[in-house]
């Protein structure tokens, strides 16, 4: 029998996505090898926003680094503040007043809501929604940023946490405002879900796309919603509880299908859990001091310390080496999205171009943090 060569001879094309591209969330670049529209290979290229923050961190004093942490992940400056401040507190063994702990929790959980809302909005933008979910998310974010501005004086670059507490106590009128915002959050999340969760187009675009099995997720050091959407029950707030998270009652949502859609659902559910934490914190917050007095020239003792928190995007850790002087000897940022990106080529292979942006959106990167 004669065999006939039926396959056409085809060539792959190399597509350079980024650094200037609408859905790379900044200046991120992917070199994609395409067969038609199917991804054969993908190589992430980053560093376009590299500012060598770690070197700057060695130049600055401990205090001066706080405003720089704001600029890592500029969507969630409060949790960056918290991670760094807690690392230094661990280094210098500073006790934090209880009220300050509560204020920190409130701020960080608000940040989580902001981040997840924006992440979902951005994901939907990548899926081709004409900005509508993004703008609804931004509306809610705006209200929360107003709270941040009220307390810290700045909307995004909050610079609010200090070693041993926070910059200032909550202003008068903050709590009622906070209560009304928190009370309206469930309705906002419900509306968001009504807009998106059952949407058929959203489902067929997200379900079964970018499947990340649990063992792969752990092997690739994935963290945050990405890891939990892969069904790994690992939330640092629970397993390695820091601050006063052990006082709150909340659940850790887990994914069952490990795909983009699960990452969306996990983020939605984490927003609901954050609201729960906020409600409890508002109820329990005590009166009292919000910071401890530290010497103007702050010199922590020698040693090295690593502290990590569950930032909205994943495990945010600071590794500090102190030589006893005013400046850190080594200031290392373990940024969640940079490491989450390691798994991107693995997730994308075999999918279409359109799925790449969806997967990237579901990882939820912020280039300020990836490139540092």
């Amino acid at each position: 029998m004669q065999t006939v060569e039926t396959r056409l001879r085809t060539e792959t094309i190399t597509l350079n996505m980024g650094p200037q591209h609408p859905s790379t969330h900044g200046v991120f670049r992917m070199i994609i090898t395409l067969d038609g529209e199917t991804i054969v290979d993908l190589e992430p290229v980053m560093g376009y926003l590299h500012r060598c923050q770690e070197k700057i961190g060695e130049r600055n004093t401990y205090l001066q680094n706080i405003p720089y942490t704001d600029r890592l992940d500029y969507i969630c400056s409060m949790s960056n503040n918290l991670a760094y401040v807690m690392a230094v507190e661990k280094l210098a063994q500073i006790e934090v007043p209880e009220r300050a702990e509560y204020i920190r929790i409130i701020m960080v959980e608000l940040t989580r809501i902001v981040n997840h809302a924006v992440a979902i909005g951005a994901l939907l933008n990548d899926l081709g929604c004409f900005f509508t979910p993004m703008l609804y998310a931004l509306e809610e974010r705006e209200r929360i940023l107003d709270l941040f501005e009220m307390a810290s004086g700045s909307r995004m670059m909050c610079n609010y946490m200090r070693f041993g507490g926070v910059r200032y106590d909550l202003p008068p009128g903050f709590m009622p405002e906070l209560k009304s915002v928190v009370a309206a959050l469930p309705a906002f999340i419900d509306e968001f879900e009504r807009l998106l969760t059952d949407n058929e187009i959203m489902r067929i675009r997200c379900q079964g796309v970018g499947i990340l099995p649990p063992d792969v997720a752990v092997g690739y050091s994935c963290t945050g919603p990405l890891l939990r959407a892969s069904g790994v029950d690992y939330d640092i707030r629970k397993v390695d509880s820091y601050s006063i998270y052990d006082r709150f009652d909340f659940d850790v949502p887990l994914g069952t299908n490990y795909d983009v859609y699960d990452r969306y659902l996990v983020r939605i559910e984490e927003m609901r859990q954050s609201v729960r934490i906020l409600e409890q914190a508002i109820e329990q917050i005590p009166e009292g001091e919000v910071s401890v007095k530290l010497p103007r020239v702050f010199k922590p003792p020698e040693g090295d310390v690593y502290h990590r928190i569950e930032s909205p995007k994943g495990e945010l850790g600071f590794y500090l080496v102190s030589d006893g002087s005013t400046n850190p000897y080594r200031y290392k940022i373990r940024s969640p999205t940079f490491i989450n990106l390691t798994v991107l080529p693995e997730l994308c292979k075999g999918h279409k171009v359109a799925d790449v942006v969806a997967i990237l959106g579901s990882i939820d990167i912020v280039l300020g943090e990836v490139d540092r």
Binding site: Y306, Y319, T342
Partner: protein, 155 residues
């Protein structure tokens, strides 16, 4: 936590020189040659399946690479491995074959600190561009750099 693991490790690897370092976060110091075996043992036998961070530090007398390991099941507490590398030819075995997640982190350490990872599948600069001179996080690196942007084409 670290202490127990350390003792178990000493039992398992009697001929390697492990060292227990006290501190705020107790750590275990490992020789570069033994790192891969120790890490594999930790991952496969001790359940430390999660590599959180790879850090390079430039001390006056040595380079040090620090690995923060966690266990997904056991919960809290990092297990910290510290590996020293020489000042002249810093080289450490790569752990990418154990934890693929070490890929970018090792590239970053190589990029900024200049520590080579033997056996890394694709060891090249990640944050800075190819052809950049020097490794910025080294203490002897001048803040203003060896070259300015645009210079590398002409030189």
């Amino acid at each position: 936590m670290s202490r127990e693991v350390y003792e178990r490790l000493v039992e398992e690897f009697p001929e390697t020189s492990l060292e227990y370092l006290e501190g705020k976060d107790p750590a275990i110091s490992v020789k570069a040659d033994d790192l891969f075996e120790v890490a594999r043992h930790l991952k496969e036998k001790q359940g430390y399946d999660y590599l959180s961070a790879v850090t390079g530090v430039d001390y006056p007398d040595r380079f040090e690479v620090i690995y923060h390991l966690y266990s997904m099941k056991e919960g809290p507490g990092p297990l910290i491995l510290k590996v020293s590398a020489s000042k002249e030819e810093p080289e450490v075995p790569s752990l990418v074959s154990l934890w693929p997640g070490a890929n970018f982190q090792e590239r970053e350490v190589y990029d900024l600190m200049g520590i080579r990872f033997a056996g890394h599948p694709d060891l090249k600069r990640i944050l800075l561009w190819e052809g950049y001179e020097g490794h910025p996080l080294r203490k002897d690196f001048p803040i203003e750099g060896y070259q300015t942007i645009g210079q590398e084409e002409s030189s």
